[in-house]
Subunit: 204 residues, 2 copies
C-alpha cells in the first residue's frame, strides 16, 4: 500500500516546489507572493504552510537540490584530481562556482544566505549549515587525497586547511552574489590569487 495520502503529499510537495521555482525565477523571491505560488500549485495558502514552515523554507528546498548536484559533481575531482595542488583546488572550486547560477539567480542566493543566518534553527537554516559542512568536508577530502598522492606535505593540518579554503571561498562567493555586476571569471581569479599563498605553503 503506497497510500493515497502519501502519494498526494509527494505530488503536492513537487507542485509547490515547481511553482515556487518558476515564480522565484520570474518575479524574484520578494516578488513571488505566497498566494501566487499557492494558486500556481493549485493548493491553498494554508496548505503551503502545512508543508513548509515559511517562505524561506521553500527556497531552501530549491537551494538544497542545487548544492547536492554540486557536491556530486565535485566527487569526480576528489577521486581523480589534477596532478598539481593549485590546479586541483582551482578545478574543484571552479565546479562549485560555475554550477552556482544554474538554477539560482544571485537574488535567490542572497535571500537564501540571508535566511540561513537569520533563522539558523529553522529547517532550512540547519540544512544550509549542513551543506556548508559537506562542502568543507569535500575540500578536506581533496587535500587528504593530495596528501596520499604525495603532492601535499604530510604534516599539514588538513581539517584546518579545508576550513580555511572553504571559508575564504564562501565569503568571496557571498560578496560576489551581493554585486549583480560581478563576473564569475573575476571571482575565480581572486580566489586563485588568495589560494596561491596557501599552495606555496603546503605543496611538497
Amino acid at each position: 500500500m503506497s497510500g493515497l495520502r502519501a502519494r498526494q503529499k509527494a505530488d503536492r510537495h513537487r507542485r509547490i516546489i515547481e511553482a515556487a521555482a518558476e515564480l522565484f525565477r520570474e518575479a524574484g523571491y520578494e516578488g513571488a507572493k505566497i498566494e501566487a505560488i499557492a494558486a500556481q500549485a493549485e493548493v491553498s495558502v494554508g496548505t503551503i504552510y502545512n508543508y513548509y514552515q515559511n517562505k524561506g523554507d521553500i527556497l531552501g528546498a530549491i537551494v538544497s537540490l542545487e548544492v547536492n548536484e554540486v557536491l556530486n559533481a565535485g566527487q569526480g575531482v576528489v577521486a581523480k584530481p589534477p596532478a598539481n595542488v593549485g590546479d586541483a583546488l582551482d578545478t574543484l572550486i571552479g565546479i562549485y562556482i560555475e554550477h552556482s547560477l544554474h538554477y539560482l539567480s544571485k537574488e535567490m542566493w542572497r535571500q537564501a544566505m540571508a535566511i540561513s543566518t537569520q533563522l539558523p534553527d529553522s529547517p532550512f537554516g540547519q540544512a544550509y549549515t549542513a551543506l556548508d559542512r559537506s562542502l568543507t568536508e569535500q575540500i578536506r577530502a581533496l587535500i587528504s587525497r593530495l596528501q596520499a598522492l604525495g603532492l601535499v606535505r604530510q604534516d599539514i593540518d588538513g581539517a584546518a586547511l579545508g576550513e580555511l579554503i572553504f571559508n575564504n571561498m564562501n565569503m568571496m562567493f557571498i560578496e560576489f552574489v551581493k554585486r549583480d555586476e560581478a563576473r564569475i571569471s573575476e571571482l575565480r581569479a581572486a580566489i586563485r590569487r588568495q589560494n596561491r599563498i596557501l599552495v606555496a605553503a603546503i605543496a611538497v
Copy 2:
C-alpha cells in the same frame, strides 16, 4: 546659527537610536515593533521612516557604532604589534572578537548580517560592506607593518593575504553568532589553528 530644525533633527535621531537599541536588546530585533520604538522615542511611525529607510537601517546605525569602535581599538595593535606573527594576528583578531558582543547580541548580529546580504544596496548594506573592507584593510596594514619589521617575508602578496585572513575570520564569526551556545574562547582557538598554517608559510 545651529538652527532649531537641525537641533531637533539630531535629537530625534538620537532618541530613535536609543529607543531601538533598548528594545532590540530587550525584545530582540523581530520582537521590537516599529510602533513600540516610535512610542518610546516619542515620535510617530512616519517620522522613523523619514529618518531611516527601513527597520534594518536602524539596526545598521547601531552596528556601525560598534564596528567603528573596534576599528579604533585595532589601530593600537597595528601601530605596535607583538614581535611574533602569530601573536600579532591573534591579538588583532582577539580585539575584534572580544569587542563584538559589547553592544550587540548574537541575535542582533544575525539580523545585521542577514540584512546586509539581503539588501546590499540599501544604506546599511553598503555601510556594512564598507566596514568589512575597513577591517580587511586593517589586517592588511598589520601585515605591511610586520613586513616592515622584517617578521613577514617580503615576497608575500599582502592584499591577498589580508583578504584570506579576514574572510576566514568573518566566516567563522558568522558561524559563531549562528549558534547561541558557541563560546568566544572556542572561536578564537579555531581561528588560531587555521591561521597557524598561514603563519608557518609567511613568517621569516
